[in-house]
C-alpha cells in the first residue's frame, strides 16, 4: 500500500475511447460504473480507518491511532487518484459502498476487530487482510465477461493491491510482535466488584 498508486500510461477515460466506436458508449459506461465502485471502496476504506483512529484516540492508544490515521490518508489518496484518472471534478453521485465475500466491504476492516490495547501489529494485520481482499476482488473482476477496458483496469488495480500486500507485509515485519499477554489489563473496564 504505497502512498500513491503507480502512474498509468493513459487515463481510464482515454482507454475507453480507444474501443471501437460501436462499443464505445457501452464500454465507457461499464468502465465508469466499475471506477465508481473502486472509488466507493477506497472512500469507505479511508472513512473506516479514520473511525478506527478515532476509537484509538478515545482509548488513549495514540500509537495505533496514528497508524490508522496514516492508513486513512493513504486510502483517501487512492480515492482522489481515481477522481483524477477519470477526470471527475468532484465525487461521483450515487456511489454506494457494497459488500463482498461476507458482510463487509471489499477493503474495510471490521469494528469488532478493535481492541483498546491493540498494537500496531494488529492494525497492520487488519490492513493486510483488506489489501488481500481487494486484490482478490479486482482479480475477480478482471476475469469477468466485461469490456476489455474494464478488465484491463481491474487487472492493473489487482496488481497494485498485490503490491500493497507486499508492502504491508514488509511493514509488519518491522513492528514488534505482540506478546501473549498484549491484552492484559490490571484494571480492566469490565470490573464490577
Amino acid at each position: 500500500m504505497s502512498p500513491v498508486r503507480t502512474p498509468r500510461k493513459a487515463s481510464r477515460r482515454a482507454a475507453a475511447k480507444r474501443a471501437p466506436r460501436a462499443a464505445h458508449a457501452a464500454a465507457n459506461a461499464k468502465l465508469e460504473a466499475f471506477m465508481k465502485q473502486a472509488y466507493a471502496m477506497e472512500l469507505e476504506a479511508a472513512e473506516r480507518y479514520a473511525e478506527f483512529a478515532d476509537q484509538m484516540d478515545i482509548a488513549n492508544n495514540r500509537e495505533v491511532a496514528q497508524l490508522f490515521r496514516k492508513l486513512a490518508g493513504i486510502e483517501g489518496k487512492h480515492a482522489a487518484q481515481i477522481l483524477e484518472q477519470m477526470g471527475w471534478k468532484q465525487a461521483p453521485l450515487g456511489v454506494q459502498p457494497f459488500r463482498w465475500e461476507g458482510l463487509e466491504g471489499v477493503e474495510t476492516g471490521e469494528h469488532l476487530e478493535m481492541h483498546y490495547l491493540m498494537k500496531p501489529f494488529h492494525a497492520l494485520s487488519i490492513a493486510l487482510k483488506n489489501e488481500d481482499r481487494a486484490a482478490r476482488f479486482f482479480a475477480h473482476v478482471a476475469r469477468q465477461d466485461l469490456p476489455k477496458a474494464v478488465r484491463e483496469a481491474a487487472a492493473e488495480m489487482a496488481e497494485e493491491e498485490r503490491e500493497h500486500v507486499r508492502w504491508v507485509k514488509e511493514w509488519i515485519a518491522r513492528v514488534p510482535q505482540p506478546g501473549a499477554d498484549w491484552d492484559r489489563d490490571p484494571d480492566p473496564p469490565n470490573v464490577n466488584d
Binding site: 478515532d54 476509537q55 478515545i58 482509548a59 459502498p97 459488500r99 469494528h111 470490573v191
Partner: protein
C-alpha cells in the same frame, strides 16, 4: 422527507465533530455509520431529521450527528419522538437506544408506540446487557448468562422484542447485525421510507461485558424467507426464529396515525389564560 439539499450529501455530512466515546469494537460505531449512510442515501438535509434517544451507551448517538438531537430521559425516547413527529410531521424522526432503555425502563412506551403507529423509526442497539452501568442483565439477556452480578444467570425468560412489536402493531419489523454496516444502512433506508412505526433491532455486541458476542458474526444469516405483510405468518416466523435471521421480517400496510393539526394558539390567547 421534504427538504431537498442543494448540494450532494455524504455520510460525512451527518457526522458531528463530537467523537464517540464507546469502547473500541462496540457495535454502536457501525450503527452510527449506517445511520449517516442511510440519511445520505435518502438525501435528507440534516435539519430535516431529528434523532431522539433515552439513556445508555447507545443513547449517546444524537450527539454524534449533525441532525437535530434530543438526548432525553431514561426509557422515554419514544414518547418524545412521538410527540415531536405529531407536532412536526415534516421532520424525519428517528428514535434510538439500547435494550435496557427500550424494553425495560421504556417497555411500556415501546408497546404503545407500536400500537399508535406514528410514522417514525425506532432503532434498538441490542447487546443484551446494561453496559453503561457495568454489566447487569437486561430484558433480552439469556436466562443462563453467568456473570459476577448474576451467578448462574437470572433464570428469567428473555423478552422477545420483535414478537412484542408485531403483536403491538408495528408496521415494519427488521433485524440486522452491526457487523453488516451496508446491510444495516439499507434496512434503515427501508424503515424510514415505510410509513408508520418502523422497528429495527440491531444485534450490536458489547465487547466489554459480553465479549462472546463477537461470535455473533458466525451465527447471523440472511432471513431465508421474503418479508411478509401477513401478521399471522410473521408471528409464526418470529416465534420460531433463533434471533439471528437478518432482514425485513414484517412489512405491514397499516395507515400511520397522524392527528389533524390543531390550530396554533396565539400569544394573546395564552396570555388570556393567565389573566387573574
Amino acid at each position: 422527507m421534504t427538504a431537498m439539499p442543494a448540494v450532494a450529501l455524504t455520510p460525512q455530512t451527518f457526522k458531528s465533530d463530537v467523537k464517540p466515546v464507546w469502547c473500541p469494537g462496540c457495535g454502536d460505531y457501525t450503527v452510527l455509520s449506517a445511520i449517516t449512510k442511510a440519511l445520505a442515501k435518502l438525501e435528507l438535509a440534516p435539519e430535516s431529521v431529528a434523532l431522539v434517544s433515552g439513556i445508555g451507551c447507545s443513547s449517546r448517538i444524537p450527539a454524534y450527528t449533525t441532525c437535530y438531537g434530543f438526548h432525553g430521559v431514561h426509557g422515554r425516547a419514544l414518547p418524545a419522538a412521538t410527540g415531536l413527529k405529531v407536532a412536526r410531521p415534516d421532520l424525519t424522526v428517528i428514535a434510538a437506544g439500547g435494550d435496557g432503555d427500550g424494553y425495560s425502563i421504556g417497555g411500556n412506551h415501546f408497546l404503545h408506540a407500536c400500537r399508535r403507529n406514528v410514522d417514525l423509526t425506532y432503532i434498538v442497539m441490542d447487546n443484551r446487557v446494561y453496559g453503561m452501568t457495568k454489566g447487569q442483565p437486561s430484558p433480552t439477556t439469556e436466562p443462563d448468562w453467568d456473570s459476577k452480578l448474576t451467578p448462574e444467570g437470572t433464570g428469567l425468560r428473555e423478552f422477545h422484542p420483535l414478537v412484542i412489536a408485531l403483536a403491538s402493531g408495528a408496521n415494519f419489523i427488521a433485524r440486522t447485525f452491526s457487523g453488516d454496516p451496508n446491510g444495516t444502512a439499507d434496512l434503515i433506508v427501508q424503515a424510514i421510507r415505510n410509513p408508520g412505526f418502523s422497528f429495527i433491532e440491531v444485534l450490536s455486541p458489547c465487547v466489554t461485558f459480553r465479549p462472546e458476542q463477537r461470535g455473533w458474526k458466525q451465527l447471523v444469516r440472511p432471513s431465508p424467507v421474503e418479508p411478509t405483510d401477513d401478521p399471522g405468518r410473521a408471528a409464526r416466523r418470529l416465534m420460531t426464529d433463533d434471533g439471528f435471521n437478518l432482514g425485513v421480517l414484517y412489512k405491514g400496510t397499516r395507515k400511520p396515525y397522524q392527528p389533524a393539526k390543531a390550530p396554533s394558539a396565539k400569544p394573546a390567547d395564552l396570555e388570556r389564560e393567565f389573566v387573574l
